[in-house]
Symmetry: C2
Subunit: 295 residues, 2 copies
């Protein structure tokens, strides 16, 4: 675990620096949206998605200058979705990573526009030549990110999360929600890393299988943490699933069953990477980390 923590801290620092460069401050009303984008995107989180991109691309010896850009793009999509999800019209969350959410720090209009601008900039970064010299590869990555984050992916998952009668969800329903709302971007991250690194179709398929298991275990652990940790540890409200009477993996499998399922998925995720040998150690470390994290 220690080696992994150093690795993810190292890539998080790379992403922080790159995002800082991509998101300059400026004067006037444009400065307000620029500051809000920075508030929503900088100094945040574990940067798990960019880590997956970079670690997957590293297996193919891809230049970090390229994989960091793909990592920034997926992180901008992740951050825009948090900004919009936190709005009063959506989840109405005042706190994010222990700080005021963007609409609390600024206001709702600025938060909407900052989210829109981050979403847009993600595709700007992917389309730029510095991301990969081959335009077809750049388009392929952009296409996958759009599909993972749009109506048939993350946005669709948020729609289900808000409007479905989740208390009646069975395991298939909860799994489908996870697959869209959080799974699609995690899946993209591993695939996008393989694609920017020039992995073969078979290799990208192995990364996909890894990421699908990883994403589902990530959500199960999220449910466990929501039920067992306090808000201070999580940096966001706790106990919300029970309060809202949502069907979760815990409700459907029991706490022990949920833990066993998460552990099984982590093993399975790692097994998909055996073909890559030692080069897969960082991604395997991420799977252990997702399982063992406390927030």
């Amino acid at each position: 675990m220690t080696a992994f923590k150093e690795t993810i801290a190292e890539t998080a620092a790379l992403i922080e620096t790159a995002l800082d460069d991509f998101l300059p401050t400026c004067d006037g009303p444009l400065g307000r949206v620029a500051d809000a984008m920075r508030w929503g995107a900088l100094d945040g989180g574990k940067r798990l998605r960019p880590f997956l991109v970079i670690a997957a691309a590293d297996m193919f010896d891809a230049p970090r200058a390229r994989s960091v850009r793909v990592g920034c793009a997926v992180e901008m999509i992740h951050c825009y979705s948090l900004i919009h999800d936190d709005l009063p019209a959506m989840d109405d969350s005042d706190l994010r990573r222990g700080r005021p959410s963007v609409h609390k720090k600024y206001d709702d209009a600025t938060a909407i526009l900052a989210g829109d601008a981050l979403l847009t900039q993600a595709f700007e970064i992917l389309a730029e030549e510095e991301t990969h010299p081959d335009g077809v590869v750049r388009c392929h990555i952009a296409l996958e990110l759009a599909r993972a984050s749009g109506k048939a992916g993350m946005v669709g998952g948020q729609m289900i999360d808000i409007y479905a009668e989740q208390k009646d969800f069975d395991l298939a329903g909860v799994t489908q929600l996870q697959r869209l709302k959080t799974g699609a971007l995690i899946r993209f991250s591993a695939r996008g890393g393989g694609m920017v690194g020039g992995g073969s179709d078979d290799e990208v398929a192995a990364l996909t299988a890894y990421a699908e298991d990883l994403g589902l275990s990530f959500q199960i652990v999220d449910d466990i943490l929501d039920a067992t940790q306090d808000a201070e540890t999580l940096g966001k409200p706790a106990g919300q699933d029970a309060e809202m009477d949502k069907a979760t993996f815990i409700k459907l499998l029991g706490m022990d069953g949920a833990k066993a399922k998460a552990a099984e998925l982590v093993s399975s995720a790692k097994a998909h990477l055996d073909r890559f040998g030692d080069a897969a150690a960082p991604l395997k470390g991420a799977a252990d980390f997702v399982f063992e994290r406390k927030s």
Copy 2:
């Protein structure tokens, strides 16, 4: 004018059909966001931006199958921006094109997500191979659309429109606001048409000069219509600039001065297209149409 009206009606019908195909309905909570996307994107407006794409691409004999896709992408960006701008947190408009705006028809959360999904799908469409066989061209178009619609373009313009003390704006300030908020997408439309059609750098530059003049005259006419037409004719509230004490081209130039400036820009826009001969007739017709429109 009659020939032009037939031409723009013909391209609007192509866009309507293509958008209808791009935006299928479905069941469940996903159906709700799908329906909201359709409500915000279908049955709407003059489709001026897609017209500019298609008419510019036609000059280079580009397959309509390609230019229609670029037109749909820019129209999705335009429509998402209207959905988000209409939200209570932004311009708080209940009406759009004479119908309830998306958040009135559905709710704020659905409107936010429908806008996000349309924005995302615009880049999905551009990245797909059907848009152009050359990935570099697809990336170039996507890059320009991202820059035109993001923080340094349309989103930035909306930020200025909401937060700047517009009553003190001089002509440079009003022009800068227009250039970002409406000009950037109009400029992209003409350039994107030239790019998907394979125009040379010089040819795309001529289209750019045309579109910059066209976009500014479009905004001046918008100001004139806001001051002189009623809400029923416009399909949206009228007289808002005066009510909000905004600096407009009319306030700064007088009504006669504004009309003269718009006319001058329309002439100048058309002159930039002389190099294309008769092939430029539809785009020249669009310039006359922008000047003579009543809503």
